[in-house]
């Protein structure tokens, strides 16, 4: 995302079905050439955003602006936007070639140019030899690629992808993620990708929009979203996170406060203007937690607990620790093959530590 020219803007878009508010005065700017992901749990309104941009649904309120022009009044068939559907929606009675040529044919592109562009699109998704097949003679991954080719061949300003990889198995999905990134760079088309899979969102996007209950929760780069979530919903939805509830004891300096949680005094780093007695959540990613023997941690800030379950994950060892207060904590550590003490016994007493500054401190939220 080199240039930051806004391509599409949603301004105060609302959508209600019966009495169910799906989108609540949503504002969103999509920049030219970026890979933007709409991430959220099912029912958060992300697909509705896509359908409104594509023109399949009409917003109740607000505007959809493309290059500063209001396209709310344009029908779906006249918008310079194409969609890759979750179900692919390939035309079963047409060959791969005819599927891809469909959009160009509808736009009355000259025959010779159609042929050229379809072949180009086919080679882009590496399906040259499948041109004459029918969709049902293709594997899921191949159908997916045809669906992408059918959309990008029209050179849309904006390509919308609706959970497009969710029907594929894990390995294929990872391949397609890389393929999609490659295509996006190669074509320099703006991609708007909808998913509920946070891993997918983190690995592909330039920016992520986290949606919940029809409202934007946070917009940012994958790194911002993961490392500095701005509320509990974002923190919990993206990756796993340990949550400790406590309150501020005193302010140390303009970047640090002392927090009492789990019966210990913690020094935490925050930009938020907390004052004494503010209730806070301290959040720690499992991979930021360090486990040591209690005797080694003496004299430093730490909390103690017992190993309650160990889960071998291949790359990492996930340990579930129960603190004396009853709080459960997950610690995810990389294997150190040279460390003979690495494995834990169940019930073993351990000390939890982390590097100050890696935690996230959020103002207290009413229980969600």
């Amino acid at each position: 995302m080199t240039e930051c020219k806004p391509l599409l803007q949603l301004r105060g878009v609302s959508k209600t079905y019966a009495d169910n508010t799906v989108l609540d005065t949503l504002d969103l700017t999509i920049y030219d050439g970026e890979f933007l992901t709409l991430l959220g749990p099912s029912g958060c309104g992300k697909t509705t955003v896509l359908r409104i941009i594509a023109g399949f649904e009409k917003e109740d309120q607000g505007q959809v602006m493309l290059d500063e022009n209001d396209i709310s009044i344009l029908k779906a068939e006249h918008r310079p936007v194409n969609t890759v559907f979750q179900s692919y929606a390939l035309f079963p009675h047409m060959s791969v070639y005819d599927n891809i040529a469909f959009g160009l044919l509808m736009h009355k592109v000259p025959k010779a140019e159609i042929n050229e562009r379809v072949l180009e699109a086919l080679s882009m998704v590496r399906l040259e030899s499948f041109a004459q097949r029918k969709p049902d003679q293709l594997s899921g991954g191949q159908q997916q690629r045809v669906a992408i080719a059918r959309a990008v061949v029209n050179r849309p300003r904006l390509l919308l992808l609706d959970e497009s990889l969710s029907a594929l198995d894990y390995k294929l999905r990872q391949e397609m993620q890389i393929e999609l990134k490659r295509l996006q760079r190669q074509l320099n088309i703006t991609f708007v990708y909808v998913t509920h899979d946070q891993e997918e969102a983190l690995s592909m996007s330039d920016r992520i929009v986290v949606l919940n209950k029809g409202k934007v929760q946070q917009i940012g780069t994958p790194r911002e979203i993961y490392e500095t979530p701005i509320n509990l919903f974002v923190a919990r939805f993206i990756g796993e996170i340990n949550q400790f509830d406590g309150h501020v004891v005193r302010r140390i300096d303009d970047k640090h406060v002392e927090v009492l949680a789990e019966g210990a005094d913690w020094v935490v780093q925050t930009d938020h203007p907390f004052v004494a007695d503010d209730k806070v959540h301290v959040l720690l990613r499992p991979e930021d937690v360090r486990l040591t023997k209690p005797q080694l941690a003496e004299g430093t800030v730490h909390i103690e607990g017992h190993i309650h379950e160990c889960n071998y994950k291949g790359k990492t060892l996930d340990s579930y620790i129960r603190l004396s207060s009853g709080t459960n904590v997950i610690a995810s550590e990389f294997f150190d093959e040279d460390d003979p003490d690495f494995d834990y016994r169940l019930g073993q007493k351990v000390a939890l530590q982390w590097i100050t500054g890696w935690e996230v401190v959020l103002p207290y939220e009413q229980t969600i």
């Binding site: 594509a54 023109g55 399949f56 029908k75 779906a76 068939e77 006249h78 936007v81 194409n82 969609t83 559907f85 179900s87 929606a89 390939l90 035309f91 079963p92 009675h93 469909f102 959009g103 509808m106 736009h107 029918k134 969709p135 049902d136 059918r150 959309a151 029209n154």
Partner: protein, 290 residues
């Protein structure tokens, strides 16, 4: 699989098979045999090989009649299609719950015997019928139109009787149509007309063909419609067959005609099979689903 189930299966399939063999296969074979026998005035048929029945089939006069019957059936089917297709498209716009009710209402009149309903059409179309009276009343015409006992009346009657047989197969194929495909077509720039011609029509073609079969074939056989509304001037294949057996008493010819009709039916069923195989590969009727 337990023994009881096996026994049940044996009896269930056995009974149906013997029923069909006894009351469909054997009579059909008898008809086939009769078509190759000799006509006899006193005993209807003589057990002597003859091709006379089949020769009459290829008589130019008869071919003209057959053509007449076929074209009337085809026109009926086309009319039914033109009414049924838009009807089904409107029906699809209704909520699921309403569709069932509308289809039910469509079927209700067909619980009445079709003969009775044809008599009703006679009253409608007659010189002093409802339509003529109404038209005269609003002053569109001075003297009653001659509608009854015409080709128009026959086609009208056939279309009325057979319309549901066009609607139901089209509805069932329309219901199988994945409406996301229409969204996809719209997304790719297809206008309403282009979506209809390039997506909806090709994908519901099996339903259209099935509807055609279910209209054309009975339309050729419904002799009472032609008798009551066409005044026997516009004979259907069914009338000809009926006449051979009951009036002319030329059984071999009638049998040959019946065989011809069965062949025609088989040919159309084969066409239908091919069409569904070709255009409905994804889901619906598919070899692997059976």
């Amino acid at each position: 699989m337990n023994k009881q189930f096996n026994q049940f299966r044996f009896w269930a399939i056995g009974l149906a098979t013997s029923w069909l063999a006894l009351f469909v296969l054997v009579p059909s074979l008898m008809v086939l045999v009769v078509s190759f026998l000799t006509r006899d005035v006193d005993f209807l048929i003589k057990f002597e090989f003859s091709l006379a029945g089949w020769e009459s089939v290829f008589d130019p006069n008869f071919i003209a009649l057959l053509w007449d019957s076929l074209s009337m059936s085809m026109i009926t089917a086309v009319i039914c299609l033109m009414v049924a297709y838009p009807f089904v498209m409107c029906l699809m716009g209704l909520p699921q719950r309403w569709r069932g009710i509308v289809l039910f209402l469509l079927i209700v009149p067909f619980w009445t015997n079709s003969l009775v309903r044809i008599y009703a059409i006679q009253f409608l179309l007659g010189k002093k019928g409802l339509i003529n009276e109404a038209l005269q009343f609003i002053g569109l015409i001075d003297k009653p139109l001659d509608m009854l006992y015409s080709q128009f009346a026959v086609i009208f009657g056939l279309s009325y009787i057979l319309l549901p047989f066009m609607i139901l197969p089209i509805y069932s194929s329309m219901e199988r149509l994945d409406f996301r495909l229409l969204d996809a077509a719209k997304d790719l720039g297809a206008t309403t007309k282009q979506r209809l011609l390039r997506i909806t029509l090709p994908l519901t073609l099996p339903g259209i063909i099935a509807g055609f079969l279910m209209v054309v074939l009975p339309a050729m056989g419904m002799f009472f419609v032609s008798d009551l509304l066409g005044g026997s001037k516009h004979a259907l294949l069914g009338n000809v067959i009926k006449n051979q057996f009951i009036q002319t008493r030329d059984w071999p010819f009638g049998a040959a005609l019946s065989v011809l009709m069965i062949l025609l039916l088989s040919f159309m069923l084969w066409l239908y099979y091919r069409a569904t195989k070709m255009s409905n590969r994804e889901g619906g009727i598919n070899d692997s689903n059976f």
